[in-house]
């Protein structure tokens, strides 16, 4: 970089500028980083030119900045360099991605090349809209960015700079500036970098802390054996509780019973058992095991799916459970940590409830509930948004009392309905298990369509019921399980239900030919 070779006979200087591309999202401080880099170069008497294409891309979109810099040539004191206003694929010395997928985007644009490019990326993720709106898990695969970076870049430095920024009270841009210093890719000293931050004069202390942390981390990364390539953090694993006694005699009896189930099941059964006991009581845990034991124990895959979705179905989301979760010991402390309230600050928490008549009537005994549910006048009265300040006495006590209705839950309309729906499903699973284990498993897994509250719940249940009817129709076919899986997948992806109806029509055509 910027190597001066003796001019060849043509008289052309062989000096070339150092080029830096920064890819950031609007609001990440990409502009600040670029200003620092320019000021750094100028501080040492270099020429530096930066450009960007801000415009509306500032509004949360992906933005690219480009810098070229070069030391003055003593033999041409009156000449200004002619620098490029945009990066050329394969010709960029340093590429900085302020977020992992932005580093990926830099590679896609061909800016990172194995013969020259140092790639510095923050490994944190800031999810794009398309990743977040997917009903299932739409998160992009980070490991592919690492795979590409490890072959595409000459050197690749990646670590979680958002975390460092967070802990130092600064922004990702300051950590990136530190990483740039630590990577020693520019012919400037740490003191030059720090003086640049000081001269800019905004949030100096926090920026310097973040800078130093970023620099030290990058230095450490570079000292590592080059054969060990940077890799993404493993995804968060599922945490299965142990199926073990806890010193509660009745619960421990259930554990002893559950231990007779195949060992592969112990993790999920422990999770399920804890969930249903927590939802209602120990006796409810017994019911859970009864249902589980009614399924033939030789098909482990089926049992595993059943153990999971049975627990989810039994611990359905009702008003009592929400009130319980919102008023529990430990919740206020957790919120305090999440919103970073200091000890000397007072915290008030407000909940956003919108109960419909269905939820309220669901709390009543079946016959009364069914009657009231049909009252439009009552519906109008109840159906509106309510904001409850859980941290205030009146609202807390209200929710606390609702949570206390738990002991009457078995007698409610909602419970009766949930159990009917559940039994219907469990019966179907048992029926299919006898002839087609794969189909029974698929029917188990389709249960993931049901969940959530209010409209979401009824929408999910409608989709689930449609898939169940299709399962009944498909039973006996070789490809029945495959179809049910496919339908579940379509239903999951499709928030409105239109695609599912299309897929169901396709199922119908299977029978037309027959």
């Amino acid at each position: 970089m910027n190597v001066s070779v003796a001019p060849i006979s043509t008289g052309l200087s062989q000096a070339r500028p150092i080029s830096v591309a920064v890819l950031a999202m609007g609001g990440q401080g990409g502009g600040v980083l670029v200003d620092w880099i320019v000021a750094l170069a100028e501080r040492r008497g270099w020429y530096a030119q930066s450009t960007s294409v801000p415009g509306v891309a500032q509004r949360t979109g992906a933005t690219i900045y480009y810098i070229e810099m070069i030391a003055p040539d003593a033999s041409k004191p009156d000449r200004h360099p002619v620098l490029s206003l945009m990066p050329a694929p394969g010709k960029v010395d340093i590429v900085i991605g302020a977020e992992l997928m932005e580093a990926g985007r830099a590679m896609l644009r061909g800016l990172v090349s194995p013969d020259r490019t140092l790639l510095i990326g923050s490994s944190h993720r800031s999810l794009a809209v398309v990743e977040k709106t997917a009903p299932g898990d739409g998160t992009a695969d980070a490991s592919q960015v690492y795979d590409a970076a490890n072959v595409a870049a000459n050197r690749f430095i990646a670590f979680d700079m958002a975390e460092i920024a967070d802990s130092t009270g600064s922004a990702v841009s300051a950590v990136l500036f530190g990483a740039l210093a630590g990577a020693a890719a520019l012919p400037f000293t740490t003191e030059d970098f720090e003086a640049t931050i000081r001269a800019a004069g905004v949030g100096v202390d926090a920026s310097l802390r973040a800078f130093t942390a970023g620099r030290e981390r990058a230095t450490a990364e570079l000292k590592r054996d080059p054969k060990i390539k940077p890799a993404p953090k493993p995804p968060l694993g599922k945490r299965f509780p142990r199926l073990a006694p806890i010193g509660h005699p009745d619960y421990d009896a259930l554990v002893a019973r559950a231990l007779h189930l195949p060992a592969e099941l112990h993790g999920i059964v422990a999770a399920g058992l804890q969930r249903v006991v927590d939802f209602q009581d120990v006796a409810y845990g017994g019911e859970y095991l009864n249902r589980l034991e009614a399924v033939p124990r030789d098909a482990t895959g089926l049992l595993q799916a059943f153990a999971k979705y049975l627990a989810v179905a039994m611990a359905y989301d009702d008003v009592i459970r929400v009130a319980d979760l919102k008023t529990r010991a430990g919740r206020f402390g957790r919120v305090r940590r999440e919103v970073r309230a200091a000890d000397d600050q007072v915290l008030a928490i407000t909940e956003f409830f919108h109960p419909r008549i269905e939820e309220m009537a669901g709390l009543l005994p079946p016959r009364l509930g069914e009657k009231l549910e049909r009252s439009e006048r009552l519906a109008k009265l109840i159906d509106r948004g309510r904001k409850l300040r859980t941290t205030s006495p009146a609202s807390f006590l209200l929710l606390y009392c609702v949570a206390g209705l738990r002991r009457f839950r078995r007698g409610t309309l909602r419970h009766a309905r949930e159990m009917r729906h559940l039994d219907d499903w469990a019966q179907r699973v048992r029926k299919f298990a006898a002839q087609d284990v794969a189909l029974a498993t698929a029917v188990c897994e389709a249960r993931r369509l049901v969940g959530g509250y209010s409209d979401t719940h009824s929408r999910g249940e409608t989709k689930f019921d449609k898939v169940m009817r299709a399962a009944d129709r498909l039973a006996g076919r070789q490809d029945a399980a495959e179809w049910v899986q496919r339908l579940t997948k379509v239903a999951l992806k499709d928030a409105d239900g239109a695609e599912l109806d299309g897929a169901l029509r396709t199922v119908e055509t299977l029978f037309e030919d027959a």
Binding site: S52, R59, D73, L85, G104, D147, V335, H354, G451, Y453
Partner: protein
């Protein structure tokens, strides 16, 4: 107040002779204007020249010290019409806006101005919004110069060249009695560089003198027979005068090279790209030395025929590097060379693409092809055959195309426009989809996920106008969007007035966020801020009623999704005839945060009671359905993985960038989604009573919670 303050940079405008100016391209232009003795400056904000307007706004004191009048115009047409001051009087004026959309709006005034001609130098600085990052249709401003016979200056994209172009352009304008357009591309507007500054110059002819001693000349007015005279004058006097001036001043530049049987001609703005491409091919260096001769057209209209002929004489071939389409200059060169019997082969759009930005890659390929065809012998081996094995690299990178998500711009965290579209989504669920005429502004992000609302855009402020045809009996009404910026730009007359007059039955939603937000938060007539040099606080509702609208609803808090939805529903279903106008007002969050944050920090430091709001999600209540995100798309509302083995999907989570606008909670309520959201009010410096009550109540709550915990089975993770 604009979203970016230039208070520090403005100091650089005071630099004098012998000092070096360092900074962004548009700042340098501002400085150059002052050095040229400009009397007045006007303009309309918009990328990439918003900063120019913001700098001038922040520099009002310096401007008034110098006797320079500065105005934020109502539209580009207003800005262009401002140049009328230079028709009769020897005053220099400059206006600025983005191009080509700004020129579209201004073209009526520009055509009139150019027809009569000018006495004082008239400069139109256009920020050419073309190529990557552009937010508008891809067209050229060149055609405007040709049709009106005004001159187009396209300087080399470095700060020193741009500043020189400003100085030359005023002289050119005065020498040829013609307004001059100075075109600066988007990257050049934001290029950082340096130039040797000069002293600022006070205008020699104050505007007040023009008012006190007015003069007129019927021959300068566009009315027959003067207009016929103007056309002749343009061709017989002004054009030749311009060509003569350009040549004498040396505005265009020729760079000699030893490989002189070929050459490259380019628009000034392409120069750095050409040098970089030549440098990569080993034929130029970073200091601008080149082995291929170059002719740089810093003035792209008019063309100086004699210079072209001189450059091409004796060459086998020349390449014209001209960005944009159609290839106006290349066509002109063909005629010039043919008339002069110059045999040089002319290349251009045959080797370079007809459409699209001339990126470094495109330029490298085009210039490479030209040199390989005519002088392959001068290329170094590496430039002819690069030998890096990239197979594995390319495969892994190609795979990223399916991984890296698109990240278009969208509504900011806490944006007050988001709830308007959430409400529209909810209405859509009830009444079915509607035809929605969109408009220019941040609200246009509604066309993207997660909202996917909006069918067309026809230009700034023309949303309601673009729904005009849909004024027929039908089961549904059209909805037209318009921002407050577009409203004052022309929408009041073209949209609302038109709808009233034609008894249009549609719905018009005016998004009022207190600023011209998309262009950088400048003030407009309905802004709520105190602005010492502008008159603000003129309600949109009053203006709308003033032109005769009857069904008008003002919503003062757009975050109230329920109310927003109900009002929209009413507008779509009411029996009342005529336009239904909803003015939805809440302050732009980006600007609000910039305004409020320092105030809150200062108040907290003083020990005052401060409440900070933010939202959160109870992870164990969230079902992972993401319906809330599909109605929001807020950057701070995201998803995170969960370790709960009973949950299949990642759960919703609110990160620390949350500004507590409340949208997620309101949507969860209006759409009856789920009770996972909570709002946390964090009180700094609480009152003594507050603290005591809080402590007491927390103790009581703790006791109740412990009592209940003691009566249930407790598992490990809860205790942790």
């Amino acid at each position: 107040m604009a979203e970016r303050s230039f208070a520090r940079e403005v100091e650089d405008l005071k630099l004098g002779a012998g000092q070096e100016f360092r900074g962004e391209g548009i700042l340098a232009i501002t400085k150059a204007l002052l050095e040229c003795g400009v009397s007045y400056v006007a303009g309309y904000q918009g990328a990439p020249i918003s900063h120019l307007m913001d700098v001038l706004s922040d520099a009002q004191d310096i401007l008034s010290d110098l006797g320079v009048h500065f105005e934020t115009s109502a539209s580009e047409a207003t800005a262009a019409a401002t140049l009328a001051a230079s028709v009769m009087y020897p005053v220099r004026g400059a206006v600025t806006f983005k191009a080509p959309v700004g020129i579209n709006v201004a073209s009526d005034a520009l055509a009139n101005l150019t027809s009569g001609g000018v006495t004082g130098g008239a400069l139109i600085i256009i920020g050419e919004d073309y190529g990557e990052g552009s937010s508008i249709m891809q067209e050229r401003s060149h055609a405007f110069a040709m049709k009106s016979q005004l001159w187009l200056v396209d300087p080399r994209p470095d700060v020193a060249s741009i500043v020189k172009a400003v100085r030359d352009s005023f002289d050119l304008s005065e020498a040829s009695n013609t307004p001059v357009m100075l075109e600066v591309r988007i990257r050049a507007c934001h290029v950082h560089g340096r130039f040797a500054s000069r002293d600022n110059v006070r205008p020699s002819f104050p505007l007040s003198r023009a008012l006190e001693q007015p003069s007129r000349d019927t021959n300068r007015i566009v009315l027959p027979p003067a207009s016929y005279l103007h056309e002749k004058e343009k061709i017989e006097k002004r054009w030749p005068a311009a060509v003569e001036f350009i040549r004498a001043r040396g505005m265009n530049e020729t760079f000699a090279g030893d490989i002189d049987d070929i050459g490259i001609i380019m628009q000034g703005g392409m120069y750095n790209g050409v040098i970089t491409a030549l440098r990569e091919a080993g034929l130029a260096d970073v200091w601008g030395e080149t082995r291929i001769p170059l002719y740089v057209m810093n003035v792209t209209y008019p063309i100086v025929d004699a210079e072209v002929i001189e450059f091409c004489r004796g060459k086998k071939a020349v390449l014209m590097v001209e960005e944009g389409q159609p290839e106006f200059i290349e066509q002109a060169l063909h005629k010039i060379l043919r008339n002069a019997d110059i045999p040089a082969k002319l290349h251009g759009k045959d080797l370079l693409p007809m459409a699209g930005e001339y990126t470094a890659q495109v330029m490298g390929q085009g210039i490479g092809a030209f040199i390989r065809r005519w002088r392959a012998d001068v290329l170094p081996d590496a430039a002819r055959a690069p030998n890096i094995d990239r197979v594995e690299v390319d495969d892994k990178i190609r795979a990223l195309a399916d991984v890296v998500p698109p990240r278009p711009p969208g509504f900011c965290t806490g944006c007050p426009e988001r709830p308007i579209f959430s409400a529209m989504k909810l209405v859509e669920k009830e009444l079915g989809p509607h035809h929605v005429a969109a408009d220019i502004g941040c609200h246009l992000f509604s066309i993207l996920p997660p909202f996917n609302i909006g069918a067309t855009t026809m230009g700034y402020g023309l949303g309601p106008a673009s729904a005009s045809a849909f004024n027929v009996p039908a089961g549904k009404r059209p909805i037209a969007m318009m921002g407050d910026g577009g409203f004052w730009h022309n929408g009041l007359t073209s949209g609302v007035g038109n709808a009233v007059f034609n008894q249009h039955d549609g719905v018009i939603v005016v998004v009022d966020n207190y600023y011209s937000a998309a262009t950088g938060g400048q003030d407009i007539p309905s802004s709520r801020a105190d602005n010492r040099s502008r008159s603000t606080k003129h309600p949109i509702v009053e203006a709308v009623k003033g032109v005769g609208a009857k069904w008008v609803r003002q919503i003062d808090r757009t975050y109230d999704v329920t109310r927003m939805r109900d009002t929209l529903r009413e507008a779509l279903t009411t029996e009342e005839k005529g336009p239904k106008i909803i003015v939805a007002s809440s302050e732009c969050m980006l600007n609000k945060q910039r305004r409020v944050k320092p105030l809150a920090a200062a108040a907290a430091k003083r020990g005052e009671r401060i409440v900070r709001e933010r939202f959160g999600v109870d992870e164990d209540v969230c079902s992972g359905d993401h319906a809330c995100i599909r109605l929001s798309g807020c950057p701070s509302l995201s998803v995170k993985p969960t370790s709960d083995p009973l949950k299949d999907n990642p759960v919703a989570a609110v990160d620390n960038s949350c500004v507590g606008c409340g949208h997620c909670g309101e949507v969860a309520d209006a759409a009856v989604l789920c009770p996972s959201f909570y709002r946390a009010d964090i009180v700094s410096n609480p009152s003594a009573f507050e603290v005591r009550f809080d402590r007491l109540w927390r103790r009581m709550i703790g006791a109740l919670q412990r009592w209940r915990a003691g009566r249930r089975v407790m598992f490990e993770q809860e205790a942790a």
